[in-house]
Amino acid sequence: MYEDEVSYALKVAEELGVTYAEARYHGRRGLTLTTRNGELLGVGRDLSVGIGIRVLVEGALGFSSTNRLDRASIREAVEDAYRLAKVHAKLMREKIEFGEAKLGRASYRVLERRAFDSMDLSDKVLLLRELWKRVQDSVRESRVVVVTSTLTEYVEEKTVASTDGALVASRVPRLSFNYSFVIATPEKGTIQRRFLYGASGGLELLDEWRPIEAAAEEAARLEGVLLEGRSPPSGEIDVVIGSEIVGLVVHESCGHPSEADRILGREAAQAGMSFIKPGMLGQRIGTELVTVIDDPTIPGSNGFYLYDDEGVPARPRYLYREGLINEHLHNRWTARVFGVESNGAARSMNYRSEPIIRMANTYFKPGDYGFEELLEDVKLGVYLKSYMEWNIDDERWSQRYVGLEAYTIVRGELGEPVRNPVLELTTKGFYGRVDAVGKDLHFYAGTCGKGEPGQGVPVWFGGADLRLRRVKLGVVA
């Protein structure tokens, strides 16, 4: 795939005398269907193809991209990256260097079991129409105000090559399905849900997800929260956190602060910094039950890749291990600064994006508790199953999650629904309270944002349900 163009870009860079160059052909072809209340608002076809080039010149890093793939345009792009890096080299206080790394020469493809074009467009539209009908039919007393949904299918193709020998071609198809709905009653107001499915693969994923049935069942449960939900108990209680929230927590307060570029301050004015500072490996962050892994190599995952965008082989990274800060996410620059080898975390959104350190599939390692076992010795507590609102400060220390579907736990049994309970803890406060972890691992899809210009990349985050002791929940004002 465009190997000649990529090779030509490297040849031009070498002629210019760069320390390092990498060129990446990056293409994406996709189709999106969007509906409101079962009616198709539009069909969108997106197409993005081009080359991104990165060069190191006298310790300064330049990036350039073009979607005109003739030789003159590629040469111009490389020359601009070189020239801009060179004129900024005088401003470098500490020159950028890339560490040695094992580099891939490989090609891999993810194969769909059911290709995107194996289902007629009209049948896809019918599927989305069915969502509206089923959600509408699922409520007893309330009104479903609106249901929206989007089905997106796309194929991402890349060829990454560098002047020090990487050459990796890949093809990954991805499917995502998101829905949202609003349920209302005149007396109780509204409750709103958004949810996203996403994975690499083909239309076979729809059979696995059963999104229509799942959305309808969820709407029925959320109507219960709307009609009967009460404030959470006051005072210190035990809280069982559902895997959906656990996944978000590890993404926000383990994955992001473990990004070594963030630790070094490279994102300080944008996505922020990290409470983790150089030299903190080995420090305790949680109980011994806390192990968080980021693994790009999980087959079928949303964040799947086998080689990163610097050509470095991917592998699982144990970011927190048995409660200790264990490993950071690295590219070849941060690996050099920290004196380690890159663990293959450089990703880019598209051809016009520089590769930066990203998560792939981040999850809390499961334990051995069944769900009932998590509940059984809780005298009074709350089970937070899902969320809508969340945020975390830019050092990834103070975090907040507002429960959407939630229930009281009374003497080991789930009780009445709870409306808008707020879990607001520090990172250490969260991980330091974990005293039991479930055995069933679930993953959730997301698009993670970082970089300037902002880059959104597909990720999974997940874990099992887990239990926190001695938590005081808030409630939405």
Partner: protein, 444 residues
């Protein structure tokens, strides 16, 4: 070299040849340079040169859209041909309305600042300027970015519109660090003025100095002065919600409100100031070839306009406001009307409150009810008895957006042109004093 107007016309013509009854096309040629700064040095210098193509295609009231960054225009032709094959598989769009007939579009009286175009060749002097200005003001280190852009944009439609404009803009933001404190400021502008760029760096450093020894404060209900950075972030959210399609899709506090209803304090006015040539983001025409307009979204507290394209306008029995997006109408550039109070006067009006200089990560529990929180970032200053009495560690603003809008009590007289990571739509905004806002804080 691609000529964007000819390319747009060609795509419309090809679409009609393939059997579509209506077509519109937007072609943008875009060149940009960005210096990203961290630890007071460039972390990367990025440059883009690309052509972005969009097309709206309709047949028998079916609507299809293409968004492409193709390597050749012929690739778009193939996509159009492919989409022609989809028409029989999809149903009529509930939002269908014919493309509007062209009307006269007056160009904006804006010109591209040559200094922006010149600086794109070598922005290192500007990078040095930012670093030096912040350090002279006492910053220990800074992060941030400087971006310079030039683009040509053409829109053609099957109803006969064929429009062209070119624009330039610069954007910079700086985050400065001193001890435990940090401060951030931003600027988005049509012109490149070195003094203004230095002011951004100095403002960030001054706030960092004020925040260098923060102390914890209790969460509770406070009077908040929101800086233009924070106002910009929240007004981006209000503008997002004022898109008529988001109203229809349940992603808006205006979903249960009607135009003409009171939705904010009577001293508050927010405009989509699309024809203000001073503001980056302003434009003469939308993606349907309709002239844009500067109009209030909220005027003296009253919801005056949702943002429409011809489709949403038809559905809601309104008129297009020149905010297409073929599917989703959107704002172009925002302005909050100035008040008559200086920042010092505003501070003197506060008995117990906080000055929030920056925020990030605004998320909603419920868009219809506007239940949200956002976390403060950088300098958070404590105000007691009308004076700044030190800095605080982070809190969250955790409230309802309609309550905030209704509780605007004082509007600043100085306006600032803000654009940064958390203010994507350029916003000209003042400081605002908002009474009785709920805040929250984490447990340890």
């Amino acid at each position: 070299m691609i000529r964007v107007r000819e390319a747009a016309e060609r795509i419309v013509s090809k679409a009609l040849e393939k059997g579509f009854e209506e077509a519109a096309s937007r072609v943008v040629r875009y060149r940009s340079v960005m210096v990203k700064l961290a630890n007071s040095e460039p972390s990367v210098i990025q440059r883009w040169d690309e052509v972005i193509v969009g097309a709206y295609l309709a047949k028998e009231r079916r609507a299809l859209v293409v968004e492409a960054r193709p390597s050749r225009l012929e690739e778009v032709d193939r996509v159009v041909e492919e989409l022609a094959g989809f028409v029989s598989s999809v149903k009529e769009s509930p939002l269908y309305a014919p493309l509007p007939e062209p009307v006269e579009v007056k160009p904006l009286s804006t010109t591209c600042d040559d200094r922006i175009l010149e600086a794109m060749k070598d922005p290192s002097e500007l990078a040095q300027l930012v670093v030096n200005a912040a350090h002279e003001e006492g910053a220990e280190r800074i992060a941030g970015m400087i971006s310079l852009k030039y683009w040509e944009r053409a829109v053609a439609t099957s109803t006969g519109a064929s429009l062209y404009e070119d624009q330039a803009m610069m954007e910079t933001y700086v985050r400065a660090f001193i001890d435990e404190g940090s401060g951030q400021w931003a600027l988005g502008s049509r012109t490149l003025d070195k003094d203004s760029i230095e002011d951004v760096a100095r403002s960030a450093a001054r706030y960092a100095r004020e925040a260098r020894k923060p102390k914890p404060v209790e969460a509770g209900v406070y009077d908040l002065i929101l800086s233009p950075m924070v106002v910009g972030n929240l007004m981006n959210l209000v503008a997002f919600m004022s898109s008529a399609l988001r109203v229809m899709m349940g992603f808006s506090i205006f979903s249960q409100r009607a135009v003409g209803e009171n939705v904010a304090s009577s001293i508050f006015t927010l405009l989509d100031d699309a024809r203000n040539p001073q503001l980056p983001g302003s434009t003469a025409f939308d993606d349907e070839g309709m002239p844009t307009s500067s109009k209030p979204i909220i005027e003296e507290g009253v919801l005056r306009n949702l943002l429409h394209n011809s489709k949403t306008a038809h559905k809601m029995k309104a008129r297009t406001t020149g905010n297409a997006g073929w599917i989703m109408p959107h704002s172009w550039t925002l302005r909050v009307e100035a008040g008559d109070c200086s920042l010092d006067e505003m501070i003197s009006e506060v008995k117990r409150g906080l000055l929030v200089t920056n925020n990030w990560y605004t998320r909603l529990q419920n868009y219809v009810e506007g239940i949200f929180s956002t976390i403060t970032r950088d300098a958070l200053l404590v105000i007691e008895d009308g004076e700044v009495k030190g800095a605080a560690t982070r809190l969250r603003i955790a409230d309802k957006l309609p309550s905030l809008l209704a509780s605007v009590d004082v509007v600043g007289k100085e306006l600032y042109d803000i654009k940064w990571w958390e203010v994507r739509v350029p916003t000209r905004a003042p400081y605002l004093l908002i009474r009785g806002v709920h805040t929250s804080k984490h447990l340890d």
